[in-house]
């Protein structure tokens, strides 16, 4: 659009801009993943409620969920994983650390987060699989 002062303003691509560049696409996927984090949270709250009703209820709930909505679980799992990953890799920006006056290298901060994430996941996995068996 040509302005009165002669300058020309290029119209922004209001709806398709995020398809133009890898970095914009990755950002939009991160934003989209929030939706699945929401879905995951709702499932989790429902699961906790069922668990409070006893073991049989909970088992029925999980197997019904898997039998009918396995695809949703898979997609949710993938997006939640991406969500966590995408935030962990930007942690050095929000939480720059210094150790005796020197900046801690970003990869250490990211690596520490990733390792912590992995340990927590294994721990929870362990409780669920072994805890259920007892």
């Amino acid at each position: 659009m040509k302005l009165t002062n002669g300058n020309y303003v290029r119209p922004p691509a209001r709806y398709s801009w995020w398809l133009r560049q890898g970095r914009y696409f990755r950002y939009m996927m991160r934003e989209l993943s929030s939706l699945f984090v929401g879905i995951f949270s709702i499932i989790m709250i429902c699961g906790l409620y069922q668990l409070s009703q006893g073991e049989a209820q909970f088992t029925a709930f999980t197997s019904s969920l898997w039998n009918n909505f396995w695809w949703l679980s898979v997609i949710t799992f993938l997006f939640v994983t991406y969500h966590s990953y995408s935030w962990f890799i930007v942690t050095p920006k929000a939480m720059p650390l210094r150790f005796s006056g020197k900046k801690v290298a970003p990869w250490i901060i990211i690596g520490a987060h990733m390792i912590l994430w992995l340990i927590c996941s294994i721990f929870i996995w362990f409780i669920f699989t072994n805890g259920g068996a007892q």
Binding site: K2, Y8, R10, Y27, V90, P92, S100, K102
Partner: protein, 266 residues
């Protein structure tokens, strides 16, 4: 030894397509194509200078230092915000498209209107705001190397505006104060000589300031000087949130003009 000592100057024919616009004669921009015999060691700016000197005297663009420090020659090169003196033709395909920086009005050809940008820089009060001004006779401030390191990265901005061009938030709202200006505010906030964080907060911690940023991170990816404005903005968000809660929880305590969150040594 390096290849510069042995290699011969080799020439490659490159097709360069440039978005042209002259408000005196054009209703809207259009592309014009040039065939440029590019030398191997050329940067994009050399190719544009070749066009200006040999093919088309009417092409307008800004440049000066040719060493990536004056910040004049930012352009979209194949869709990517680029400092044209800092990008080599040898890394480009045989066809190169050059446009003026996005998210700015085009004034003429590759020259964009940057008055809005300069106003935004100015709006964050980017100068030392000392509690009391020292006289020259009193000597310099003490500043330890680790205190300098805290903010030094954020002093490296050359105002090339690539980050404004890369920011999708800027495309949707041109009132956004933007990455470079917010990083500059952060630079002064982190400086041990400065006590002006509160004065800057009106602009910095407003809806048009840090809260307009949704952390796409594109600004930091395109920054030729590794300033990392995205980091500056996220850290400012944390500091501003801290201030808000401090005011909220301890209304009797005048919010302290402390340092931003970075910096605890151990």
């Amino acid at each position: 030894m390096s290849d510069v000592k042995t290699s011969q100057k080799s020439v490659r024919q490159v097709e360069i397509e440039i978005l042209r616009y002259n408000p005196d004669t054009d209703e809207k921009p259009y592309f014009q194509t040039y065939q440029v015999p590019c030398q191997e060691e050329w940067v994009i700016l050399d190719a544009v200078n070749y066009i200006k000197d040999n093919l088309d005297r009417s092409l307008s663009y800004r440049w000066s230092c040719h060493m990536a420090v004056c910040g004049s020659c930012g352009m979209m090169v194949n869709g990517e915000p680029t400092l044209s003196c800092h990008a080599f033709v040898r890394d480009m395909p045989d066809k190169i498209t050059i446009e003026p920086l996005e998210n700015f009005p085009i004034a003429r050809d590759l020259i964009v209107d940057m008055d809005g940008f300069v106003e935004k820089l100015s709006s964050v009060k980017p100068y030392i705001n000392a509690a009391e001004e020292k006289t020259v006779e009193q000597g310099t401030y003490q500043q330890l190397p680790e205190q300098l390191q805290l903010y030094k990265q954020y002093t490296q901005c050359i105002n090339c505006m690539l980050c404004y061009s890369a920011c999708p938030q800027m495309a949707l709202n041109d009132g956004f104060v933007g990455p470079a200006a917010l990083a500059l505010a952060h630079r002064y906030n982190l400086d041990s000589r400065d006590k002006g964080r509160e004065v800057r907060e009106d602009v910095v911690a407003s809806n048009a300031g840090i809260w307009e940023c949704s952390f796409v991170g594109a600004c930091s990816e395109v920054c030729p000087k590794h300033v990392d404005p995205a980091a500056a903005i996220q850290q400012t968000k944390i500091a501003a949130t801290g201030d808000y809660f401090k005011k909220f929880l301890m209304p009797w305590k005048n919010a302290q003009k402390g340092q931003a969150p970075e910096g605890g040594d151990q």
